[in-house]
Amino acid sequence: MSEIKIVNATGLACPQPVVLAKQAIETNEKVKVIVDNDAALENVKRLGTKLGCDVSSKTQEGGLFEITLTRKAGAPLPTQNIPVMCDTSAAASGPFVIVCAEDKMGRGNDELGAVLIRAFLHTICLQKEKPDIMIFYNTGVKLTIQGSEVLDDLKELSAAGVEILVCGTCLNYFEIKDKLDVGVVSNMYDIAETMSKASRLLTP
């Protein structure tokens, strides 16, 4: 039956392989993840176990590892959000998180702030070291909806494996939930937890 989705996570630093593996298994029955270091190997295996998948791994040539995650027949993935764990070292144990709490950058002049946030997100998009997770709340959620000036950049980040969490309460408050165009509707539990475990938290 199932096609195998192959995720090439070589050259990526943790937790990126875990994030990519998680995204892949959410939409595929079977996922093969290729990584190039022990930490990523362990972290992806741990993710698979947590998600209740069958996990197997083998060593490939050239120092690569191949991990196969298979969803157990008939068993849905846990609906509860499994945190993306990444314990390579004590220093950088959490994800790199960017929080957009407003649809502008900085305070003082709104027109200018709207320009700055566009320039900021464009630059983040081109940057080699991308955030693991981006969180949008309060007026920040307006950046993620149809017609947003930064939609293309956010979609590109999302496609590159950046997890985008958008505050559901905020979408609801502004009555724009049906216009959400990138990322997933999230809640304060995930938002607070993600912010708490971040190794780096950046707010433009």
Partner: protein, 78 residues
């Protein structure tokens, strides 16, 4: 990646010119993107408009007499 390799950027004397130009291009429906002035051009924190080469004439025509353009430059890689 998904981006074409070469673009032009249009530079202005001030941020407000860039915003004015953007408003005009939006109204005219000409594709463009507002980006920070690339580092290799200037280290100032400025903004400029980026566009693909095919739109150059259209953009020039749309802005003629309305916005003072300082410079148009060919840009490679981003």
């Amino acid at each position: 990646m998904s981006e074409p390799t070469s673009y032009y950027v249009m530079l202005y004397k001030s941020v407000s010119y860039a915003l004015k130009a953007e408003k005009i291009l939006k109204t005219e429906g000409i594709p463009h993107k507002l980006i920070p002035v690339p580092k290799q051009i200037s280290s100032d924190c400025g903004i400029c408009l980026r566009f693909e080469s095919g739109f150059q004439d259209k953009i020039k025509a749309a802005l003629a007499g309305k916005v003072e353009v300082e410079e148009i430059r060919l840009l490679t890689n981003g």
